[in-house]
Structures are given as structure tokens and as C-alpha cells.
């Protein structure tokens, strides 16, 4: 049991990257439109986030420096500020979406409009971020979020034509009803979501919160190697069940309320209840992850005291930022904006934030001044360099694709 709790940070981090509200709907949409023909992107994304989280976690464990410290130290105040603004664009928009996502999950269970739940959810979230211990937060939401495994069980129970599914996986093409531009747009969106920068902000800062030292590098790696592939597998399971149920029916997923339907068909009410619990925990966990990441990044950029391991009054500006973001998020959501639509715009900010986040991690993970003997090995460097190039290509392609496809339509 203790072993499970030891990897809760990795699981919670991965949930924010792979099955938060935006990803749940996007994965279901991709499954219903493209089948599993984009599954390879998730695999590529998982490897990428594993490579860079391992580096950022190792830097945190050896040097005690979290990721936004590195950004500022290697890029300086000017480009560092550009990255701060872009990363905040991604993280804060996602934070808003998650609060709306928790409200949506509750709406499905109660059929009371999500807008009415927003203030309640936000208040509960803020109390958790203010008062609940970091370890409790990651254990509860990380592990309860695993309820989403019900999608994998549903897939097995649906007993689809596995050969046909595998044919989709290996088709590497958009299929008859979609264009290549649309295919590329969703490939970029899935890749961007897998490597979304708040994962490394949260993971490395979480390592500092947990007082990782050199002896904890093994635990850190266990978190990385278990957490992210698990997150990727969950997102693939969501895409697979929608590919089985919705693709032949000609249904394109556009809202969270459609996502539990395949589980209902396969497993009935019990399955739906577990899926809704999973939605709630995953979106609430992702809200914690993004909310804290907003505070972590700003505090680390400006050198403020931060973290949940000190009393709030010892990290006053950090907690003020979290309080303020929660209030602004509520204000935005009360305009009745669609929370899922909010995440689509974050792709734009990823274009700038991704390269400017992963370059400094790669550089510092090679610097013996920080790392001593624990600098990157050859494999980490080869993969890191290759992924940096891929990230640059994706960053350049993201905005034109978004415009060409009108956001994937």
C-alpha cells in the first residue's frame, strides 16, 4: 500500500496531462472521429513527457530547484517572462476549464446546471489548496482518478473486433470522412496535451514539496515510469471505447455527457457511477495541479517563497496568487462560457511555452554544477534532443493548423 502512495505524485501529474476535462472530451472526440488512428501520437507523447519529467524530477531531487527556477536561470528575465506569460496562458486556461469540468461532472450526476455548481466547486477547491496537506491531495485525487480504469474494463467487456481496432491503430491516416489537415491538427493537439508544461512544473515542484533528495531518484523514476504510461493508457481507453461505440453510429463527441455512454452500454449503472467518480477526481485533481502550478511558476520566476510545506503566511504571495486565480476563474465561468472550448485556445500558448520550458531542463540536466555525477546519460540526451526538435516543429505548426481547420472542424 505504501508503494502505491509513493507513486501518487506521478499518477496525479499524468492525470492532468492525459485525462483532464479537455483531454477526456478531446480523446473521446478523436476516438469517435478518427478511431484509433491517432493512438501512435499518445505513445509518442508519453515517451516525450517521460523523458523530460525524469530530467526535471532528477534536477529537483539533486539540486532542489524546480522547473521555473531553471527557466529563469537559463533564459534570463526577458525570455523567461515570455515563457511565464505563455505558460500561464496554458495553465490558467486549463485551470478555469477544470473547475468547469468538475461542475460538469457533478451536473451529469445531479442534472443541476453546471454554472450553479461553479462557485461551490471553486470554494471547495480553494479550501483544499489552502488547507489540505500536499500528500493527502495527491493520494486522494491521484488514486481515485484511477477509477477511470473503468474505460479499459468497458473496452474489454464490449469485446470489439480487435483486429479491426488494430487496423485503425496501424492505418496512420485520417480515414474517409476527415482531411489530412484535421488529422494533423488533432495529432498536434494530442501531442501538446501530453507534453503540456504544467506537468513538469507540478512534478518538479511536488518533488521539492516532498523533500526529495539524491536517495529519492529511484522513487522519482518509479513515479515517471508508472504514472505517465498509465495516464496515456487511460486516455487511449477513452478513445478506444468511443471508437467502438460512436464511430460506427456516426456520433461525434462534443460534450462530457456523451463520454460515459459506452461505459453504460458495457457495464451498466455501476460502470457509469465509477466513471462519474473518475471524472470528478480527475478534473478536481487536474484543478489542483493547474492551480498550484500557476502559483509555483510565478513564485519561482520572481523568487518568492512558495509551497504547501510551509504555512500559508510564510508563502503569502504564493497563496494570494492562488486565491486570485480562483476568483478570476469563477468570474470567467459565470459568463457561461463552455469550459471545454476554453482549453482549445491553450494550444496557441503551448507553441511558445513548450520549447522555452524543455530547453532549459535539457541544458541544466547536463550541467555538473547542478547535477554533480547525476547528469544526463546518453539515452536521455538523444531522446531529449530529438524531442526538442519535434516540439519545435509542433510549435511552428500549431497555430496555422488551428486556423486552417477552424479549430478542428
Amino acid at each position: 500500500m505504501k508503494k502505491i502512495f509513493a507513486v501518487a505524485l506521478g499518477i496525479l501529474t499524468a492525470i492532468g496531462g492525459f485525462v483532464d476535462i479537455g483531454d477526456l472530451v478531446t480523446n473521446a472526440l478523436v476516438g469517435s472521429r478518427f478511431g484509433l488512428s491517432l493512438a501512435w501520437v499518445v505513445v509518442v507523447g508519453v515517451i516525450g513527457i517521460v523523458v523530460f519529467s525524469e530530467m526535471s524530477g532528477r534536477v529537483a531531487a539533486i539540486s532542489g530547484r524546480a522547473t521555473f527556477d531553471l527557466v529563469r536561470e537559463r533564459l534570463g528575465p526577458r525570455i523567461g517572462l515570455a515563457n511565464l506569460l505563455a505558460s500561464m496562458g496554458v495553465t490558467f486556461l486549463t485551470f478555469i476549464a477544470e473547475i468547469g469540468g468538475v461542475a460538469l461532472a457533478i451536473e451529469i450526476a445531479t442534472s443541476v446546471n453546471e454554472v450553479l455548481w461553479v462557485p461551490v466547486v471553486a470554494a471547495a477547491l480553494w479550501i483544499v489548496l489552502w488547507r489540505v496537506r500536499f500528500s493527502v491531495l495527491e493520494n486522494v485525487f491521484g488514486l481515485v482518478g484511477l477509477a477511470l480504469v473503468v474505460f479499459a474494463v468497458a473496452l474489454w467487456k464490449l469485446d470489439p473486433d480487435w483486429g479491426a481496432l488494430w487496423a485503425q491503430v496501424t492505418s496512420f491516416s485520417p480515414g474517409a470522412d476527415n482531411t489530412w489537415t484535421q488529422y494533423c491538427y488533432y495529432a498536434v493537439a494530442l501531442f501538446g496535451a501530453a507534453l503540456t508544461p504544467y506537468e513538469v512544473f507540478f512534478f518538479s515542484s511536488g518533488g521539492v514539496e516532498e523533500h526529495w533528495g539524491e536517495k529519492d531518484v529511484g522513487t522519482m523514476r518509479l513515479n515517471v515510469f508508472l504514472g505517465f504510461p498509465l495516464g496515456g493508457a487511460l486516455s487511449l481507453a477513452v478513445a478506444a471505447v468511443t471508437a467502438v461505440v460512436f464511430l460506427p453510429a456516426g456520433v461525434e463527441v462534443e460534450s462530457l455527457s456523451q463520454v460515459p455512454l459506452p461505459v453504460a452500454i458495457a457495464l451498466g449503472k455501476i460502470g457509469v457511477a465509477i466513471a462519474l467518480l473518475g471524472f470528478f477526481a480527475a478534473t478536481f485533481g487536474a484543478a489542483c495541479e493547474t492551480g498550484l502550478s500557476v502559483g509555483y511558476s510565478i513564485a519561482q520566476f520572481y523568487g518568492w517563497s512558495w509551497g504547501k510545506f510551509v504555512a500559508p503566511r510564510q508563502a503569502a504571495r504564493f497563496h494570494a496568487v492562488i486565491l486570485l486565480s480562483t476568483l478570476v476563474a469563477v468570474a470567467v465561468l459565470l459568463t457561461t462560457v463552455d469550459p471545454v472550448a476554453v482549453t482549445e485556445y491553450s494550444v496557441v500558448f503551448s507553441a511558445l511555452a513548450l520549447p522555452l520550458t524543455y530547453l532549459p531542463i535539457l541544458v541544466i540536466a547536463n550541467d555538473p554544477d547542478y547535477m554533480g555525477e547525476r547528469v544526463n546519460g546518453r539515452l536521455a540526451n538523444v531522446l531529449g534532443s530529438v524531442y526538442l526538435v519535434v516540439i519545435l516543429v509542433v510549435a511552428v505548426a500549431a497555430i496555422p493548423l488551428m486556423i486552417l481547420t477552424r479549430g478542428g472542424q
Binding site: 534570463g76 526577458r78 489552502w130 539524491e214 520572481y302 523568487g303 517563497s305 504571495r317 554533480g372
Partner: protein
């Protein structure tokens, strides 16, 4: 001197690479500020010596440059009550050593370079129940 050995001093510093933008940590290990700029003083022998670490928006703004930098500086001036506000200053003699952070021998409260932190603590955070409760 990698890792978490006792912080000491390098033989040489490349100012931008080894000092600027590094975290300043107080004697209790608590983050205080970043090295936003470094003050040099002309010594009697004419050489430029490190006099102090400068921190806060008043030092960061000019270094950021461009419109974001000007805005940073302007907002900071507005929020200060003095006629000619100066950025936070930590005397170089207080620095006890460097590793991947810059360590100083005073506590954050004695350094008094984080006016906003104290303002937010006093007027916002301390008024919320549970502010003194650590993990």
C-alpha cells in the same frame, strides 16, 4: 561544488551564468528573492567590486527591457511611497556562499527586501483562518 554540499565560493563567477537570476535563500533556507541585478562599486584602486545584490521589480524591470520592463518599473514606482524608490538591496558581505542558490546570513525579515510579501501577509493572508498552519 555541485549538489547540496556546503555552499562556498567559486574561483570565478560569470555574473550572468552563475549569479544573476539565481534564488536567494535566507539563513533558515527560505526563498527570499532572485538576484535581479548586481551592484558594482568603484573601489579606491579603480576596480569594480561586487557591492550588493539587488532584488525586486525596481531591479528586474530595467533588466527586462522593452514595454514589459517599463511597465514593471512604473507599477513598482507607483506602489512605493518614497520620492525616489530604490530596489531591495542585500549587501555582498551578507552572502555566505553559493551553490545553485545564493545563501545569505540574515533572515528574510531582517533583509526587508520583500515589501509586497509582508503587505500581502498582513492585509490578506493573516486575515484568513488557518494562515499559520503548515503541512
Amino acid at each position: 561544488m555541485p549538489g547540496r554540499d556546503e555552499p562556498g565560493f567559486r574561483r570565478q563567477y560569470d555574473a550572468e551564468l552563475h549569479l544573476l537570476d539565481r534564488q536567494i535563500v535566507d539563513r533558515d533556507g527560505r526563498p527570499v528573492a532572485k538576484v535581479d541585478d548586481i551592484e558594482l562599486a568603484v573601489r579606491a584602486d579603480g576596480r569594480l567590486a561586487v557591492a550588493a545584490l539587488l532584488c525586486g521589480p525596481g531591479a528586474l524591470g530595467p533588466r527586462t527591457g522593452g514595454r514589459p520592463g517599463r511597465w514593471t518599473t512604473a507599477i513598482w514606482r507607483r506602489l512605493r511611497t518614497e520620492e525616489d524608490p530604490q530596489p531591495g538591496r542585500i549587501d555582498a558581505a551578507l552572502v555566505t556562499g553559493t551553490d545553485n542558490a545564493v545563501h545569505v546570513s540574515a533572515s528574510a525579515d531582517e533583509l526587508r527586501v520583500d515589501g509586497l510579501e509582508r503587505w500581502v501577509r498582513h492585509y490578506v493572508v493573516d486575515r484568513i483562518p488557518g494562515a499559520g498552519h503548515a503541512d
